[in-house]
């Protein structure tokens, strides 16, 4: 997975919407990468910003959207900054989308067939033109480099030019042949499958529609004539097809009577005189010929193309395998080896030059970056930017087949960053002015004794320093990138790169040769319609969208999206409206297409079953942020974020019996996004810190990370809800059982099954014990974090963290012991922390707190450790000191300076928890 190239990169994407009531922050700084041939699923409730993200990628945000920042890097372009015209070239062609609502994404007054072929025809011509351009420019660039590498002597130049020209010529011949072959071959295999189907139906006496299908099969079989498919037995085949045609032809008399019967609305059966036995017999012999043809090897058209173009002789008559070898050798001897050699020289030359220029660019960066490090003048900035851009763009190796996003987007990014900076300054000045003016007039009114009906709107200032920092970051990023490139130069494999270059040219050439005519588009559309599971595509092709049911419409939308061969496919809940069978058909289709075309898919859904099926990686979104991201295995077998738990436990699977755990409440209002973790309000495992500070992304493994304070080293260990642990245990058991079933030894498998069962039970019992900590321990965590903030330095507090960690462990022990006493109330006490806080505020007084202490100390006596002693000693103290007992008592090393703050906050944190526990006990 790591080696695959990144197709799409989203960096710090931030999108808001202007509304009457304020600015809705739909997406708040999200980051993810999409690799080639990978499916990334984005999961979350409605309103979590999934669709907004995908729409931003496709550039179809609503008019009131504000692109507040961030980058979407694709193919050397930043999709956030390119113009609408440029976007037109990408949208639908490179990036296609399947929408959620099929009705509104189809044109109601156009026939389905037209809607399907429209994009193919337009984009087909476009991509042909573009491929031609790419091919030509790359080849001429290569030619140039080759010339320079050979010192630009006239004969070398002439030689190079000839090589390139020859390559161009025979490449076209190659494609011509290959396309004809592929077409014939495809028709051949399809005719075979058609015939198989027809034979099956004749055998089962289901004659409905057989005649029409036979006719299609005949057409396909006729098209399978090619030098490398049906060649020797072509005459025989033609004869058979002719008899077959006669057999299925309806006599004119029967046609007339049938029509009359239809017109007279008689119920009687339509006459069918076809001799099916004979048809079946002929079809079988046709199939024999086609089967033989389909089993032939595929010839190497690349070398055949060269041979036919330059040798001036017909192909030697020999079996395909030998032919391939012979021609390959011929090509190598005459052309290829030399071409590769020269191309390699050219590439090395270009790379070397680029590296030199990169070094120069680094020098320029060193020189100019200083300008942006402090306040700068407009003219300076402009000059510096111009120099930087020129240097950086000079450093790009134009012969690289994979465009490097950072270098290619440097120009737009830097320009817009500088523009944003000056824009910010101007706007800030304006805002200040407006604010001063409004305040003055407000004050004037107040002074004159009136109460104004309006309020002064707060200043909406842009962080100018931040904008400047952004510019510096941008430059540093390109600097790091170039430094890396220069290091890499030494161990580049230039042979591989030369081959890559030839592959690239081949690909572009095939793009040129793939013409899309109206008839071809129609054939393709019909095939797609059949692929997505629409019966009678010929009939459906001419219908209007309103004549289809919801599921059918959705399939048409999917067919349209797939028709243009996109690079990236975005699926926005494509199967939510479909039933299971169709759903899995469609998913299989998308998966198949993905495999075939190395498609990258972004799959948006809230159905986790579908996600498990489709996704390689999963991103869980909540309130505009990615809260957890990892491979499908990570997310389903070891979920870490409470929101993921909630999502997983709110959907029933086939073994669920207990009450479903719905997520209480509703998602937060994104006009006023919460200060801390957005999910805290609805999270029963929330701690105090969750309400105050946003959790950073904690890395769990290389592929898996989650944003929750529960992963902080000081946080209590909380296991996911029982419903999930049970399910995971069940799933692992099932997988292992399946694995064991494969092994031959049955006894061993039984033993293993037992072992797995035991393991599952252990997991179960473990999960039963450890549910009730969060309230009690949050004080320690709180302390740890507060210490962090007090010092303002995260690294130096390691010591404190360690001590608190110990405390946490101890407290955990005592709680575990306490568990049986309050087992009944334990679950109740873990209700949402919001409730806790309010309850605590109203009820906790000294008395309740003291009670709690008593309860706690009595429980803590059992371990008879130092904790017990300290607790009993502190039994009579007031509520607040009692509350911060565990931490304070166990921390003699804590400095006096820290104490006051720590004390205050811990007390605040513990109070609600204790209050609630107490309530539970009563």
């Amino acid at each position: 997975m790591e080696t695959k190239e990144t197709k799409l990169a989203v960096r710090n994407l931030k999108i808001s919407f202007r509304t009457d009531s304020g600015k809705v922050q739909a997406v708040r700084e999200i980051n993810f990468d999409l690799k080639k041939g990978e499916t990334l699923a984005i999961v979350g409730e409605s309103g979590s910003g999934k669709s907004v993200t995908s729409r931003a990628i496709l550039g179809i945000l609503a008019n009131n959207a504000l692109k507040e920042g961030g980058e979407i890097l694709y193919d050397g372009q930043d999709l956030m900054k390119i113009s609408e015209e440029e976007f037109c070239k990408i949208r639908g062609d490179k990036i296609a989308m399947i929408f959620q609502d099929p009705l509104s994404s189809l044109n109601p007054i156009m026939r389905v067939g037209k809607q399907m072929t429209e994009a193919m025809l337009i984009k087909g011509r476009l991509s042909q033109r573009r491929s031609r351009k790419d091919f030509n420019s790359m080849l001429s660039r290569l030619n140039g480099c080759m010339d320079s590498a050979r010192g630009k002597t006239p004969e070398a130049c002439a030689k190079n030019k000839e090589l390139c020209k020859n390559f161009d010529t025979f490449e076209r011949k190659h494609l011509e042949l290959e396309i004809a072959y592929l077409d014939a071959r495809e028709n051949c295999t399809e005719a075979i499958s058609d015939i198989e189907d027809i034979l099956f139906r004749i055998e089962k006496n289901a004659f409905d529609g057989v005649v029409r299908d036979v006719k299609t099969a005949i057409k396909r079989a006729e098209k399978s004539r090619n030098d490398f498919v049906v060649k020797d037995r072509a005459e025989e085949l033609a004869g058979l097809l002719f008899t077959l045609k006669k057999l299925v032809q309806t006599p004119v008399v029967t046609k007339i009577t049938n029509t009359a019967k239809l017109l007279l609305r008689r119920n009687s059966k339509i006459v069918d005189n076809t001799d099916y036995a004979e048809v079946a017999k002929t079809l079988a012999s046709v199939k024999a010929i086609l089967d033989e043809a389909a089993s032939f090897d595929e010839p190497n058209f690349f070398s055949i193309g060269y041979y036919l173009t330059f040798s001036g002789q017909p192909l030697p008559d020999m079996p395909v395998k030998e032919l391939n070898e012979y021609l390959h050798k011929y090509l190598d001897d005459n052309f290829m080896l030399e071409f590769i050699k020269v191309a390699k020289e050219g590439i090395i030359y270009s790379a070397k030059n680029a590296t030199e220029r990169k070094k120069a660019a680094l020098a320029v960066i060193e020189r100019e970056i200083g300008v942006f490090k402090s306040e700068f003048e407009r003219a300076d900035a402009k000059a510096a930017a111009r120099a930087l851009i020129a240097a950086v763009e000079d450093g790009i190796d134009r012969l690289e087949t994979v465009k490097d996003n950072i270098a290619y987007t440097f120009r737009t990014s830097l320009r817009s960053a500088i523009h944003g900076y000056y824009d910010g300054i101007a706007r800030n000045a304006k805002e200040e002015k407006r604010y001063a003016k409004q305040t003055a007039s407000y004050n004037k009114k107040v002074e004159s004794g009136k109460t104004p009906e309006w309020k002064v709107i707060d200043k909406d200032l842009v962080d100018v320093e931040g904008a400047r920092g952004g510019i510096v970051n941008l430059i540093e990023r390109i600097k790091a990138k170039y430094e890396r490139d220069i290091e890499k130069f030494a161990d580049t494999d230039f042979d591989a790169r030369a081959v890559d270059m030839i592959d690239y040219l081949k690909l572009k050439a095939s793009g040129v040769a793939h013409k899309m005519t109206r008839a071809m588009a129609k054939a393709r559309a019909l095939k797609l319609l059949e692929e997505v599971g629409i019966p009678e595509p010929r009939k459906r092709y001419r219908q209007y969208p309103f004549e289809f049911s919801g599921g059918m419409r959705q399939r048409i939308v999917i067919a349209i999206a797939l028709a243009v061969n996109p690079d990236i496919l975005i699926c926005d809940e494509p199967t939510t409206a479909l039933d299971v069978t169709i759903q899995s058909q469609i998913l299989e289709l998308i998966n198949k297409v993905k495999e075939e075309r190395q498609l990258s898919v972004i799959f948006i859904t809230h159905d986790l079953g579908v996600v498990a099926n489709m996704a390689d990686r999963v991103a869980v979104m909540y309130a505009g942020k990615i809260v957890e991201i990892g491979t499908a295995h990570d997310i389903f077998y070891s979920p870490a974020h409470p929101y993921t738990w909630a999502l997983l436990s709110s959907m029933p699977d086939l073994d669920t019996k207990e009450k479903l755990e719905a997520i209480p409440g509703t998602p937060p209002n994104m006009i006023y996004p919460p200060k801390g973790d957005a999910f805290a309000e609805r999270n029963k495992y929330a701690m105090q810190i969750d309400f105050e500070r946003q959790p950073p992304m904690f890395k769990i493994s290389d592929t898996h990370s989650a944003a929750t304070w529960l992963l902080h080293p000081n946080a209590p260990k909380i296991d996911p809800p029982k419903i999930i642990t049970d399910r995971i245990a069940r799933m692992t058991r099932a997988t292992e059982l399946a694995k064991n079933a494969e092994s031959v030894n049955s006894e061993a498998s039984v033993e293993a099954a037992e072992a797995v069962e035991k393991h599952a039970e252990a997991v179960k019992s473990a999960s039963g014990e450890t549910v009730e900590e969060p309230n009690v321990i949050l004080e320690d965590l709180k302390r740890g974090i507060v210490d962090d903030t007090v010092n303002g330095d995260t690294v130096s507090t390691d010591e404190t963290l360690a001590t608190t960690d110990e405390t946490a462990k101890d407290t955990k022990k005592s709680t575990a012991r306490k568990a049986p006493a309050k087992s009944a109330s334990a679950t109740k006490s873990t209700k949402t922390t919001a409730a806790k806080t309010t309850a605590a505020k109203s009820t906790t007084t000294k008395t309740t707190a003291t009670k709690t202490t008593t309860a706690k100390s009595s429980a803590a006596k059992k371990p008879a450790g130092s904790t017990a002693k300290t607790t009993t000693a502190k039994k009579t103290t007031t509520a607040k000191t009692a509350a911060d007992k565990p931490a304070a008592a166990k921390k003699p090393a804590a400095t006096a300076a820290k104490k006051p703050t720590a004390k205050k906050t811990t007390a605040k944190a513990t109070e609600p928890a204790d209050g609630k526990t107490d309530g539970g006990n009563e």
């Binding site: 939510t576 069978t581 899995s584 479903l660």
Partner: protein, 427 residues
Amino acid sequence: MENNDETLLKVEHLCQYFPMGPGYDLKAVDDVNFEIKKGEVFGLVGESGCGKTTTGRSIIKLYDITSGNVYFKGQRICAGVRSYKSAIKAAREECKATVAELKKNSRAEIDGGADEAEVKTKYDALIAESRDKCARIVAENTAAMASAKHDHKYCDKDYASGVVAQLIAERDAELADCDDEEEREKIAREYKSKIRIAKNERIVNSIQMIFQDPIASLNPRMTVRDIISEGLVIKGIRDKKYIDEKVYAILEKVGLVREHADRYPHEFSGGQRQRIGIARSVIMEPELIIADEPVSALDVSVQAQVINLLNELKERLGLTILFIAHDLSVVKYFSDRIGVMYFGKMVELAPSDELFEHPLHPYTRSLLSAIPLPDPEYEKNRKRFVYNPLAEHDYSTDLPTMREVSPGHFIYCNQAEFDKYKAELDK
């Protein structure tokens, strides 16, 4: 649930055809039989277009059914006449054919030299017999047809008159017991309004429906109060205070608050709208709720909320639910028994655990093999099983019927398949 054997709804040979043009009908529902016991949840699954929703709508009389009967609480509420008509037609044609055959035979015998008079009397008797038989069948079916038409059209009136008669009897009994003049007047007044409402009583009111799309099924111009109380108003209740109280009570029951009564549907989220839909059906105090894909259009988390709510209401109000859905994991979780439909036919019917443990019909198997589960390992190895009726069954000689393979487990098959399934089940 099992200990209660009272049948609440019984569907017999339900057929619902839609005319599609000259000569052919679309058989949306074709010969479906099932029973729903009181207090149980009956799940109906199948792919889209297989007639699940049509079945539900036919039961609640949104369509006039083509043939078959639906009994609710023992009373026939829907009845179709197509089967009787075709029986009459078949009998007439058969009679015509036999008569022609007999006549031909008699002529042959006369030509063969038999005594003309003797042959004539013999054959006349036979002809008369077959004509009699035909006439009898026609008369039977005509009578059945008349009764079916009557029941289909007047079942509500019959039910209302029954209720009214019962009320009158009660009133008379109470009046007889009472001596005080004032008291008598009060009772009379009380019963008068009750009887007025009872006159409009409809048996179908005890069946209510929850629709799939919570946005499309609520009138955007009505407040939640109007939407929820509409049924009561139509029923004839005029007491505003009583209605309001009832609305508030129901709102609280479905997890909304009083203040929501004066808002409009667009002010609610999807889950809340579906709650309003549920409130609207529950306020009529139904005995049977037809839930037509109530959670398909909702988010997972909201889905769980709505399912929990339905479960709770079921327990608290003793509801019986016909649950139509295509999400099999939800159906499995929620239903006691499940019927699987395929192209208008019920192909398998069994208790839900039994169905998922021993799916017998190939279509059920293919359906089960398509369920996506939240388990990547399982999903990687899941093989979808494609159902092709032509390849699976050979019905050329022996036509399939609904047969009971094991207690409570019915399957649509012919004798050969029946034996096969039975052997499979025994294994």
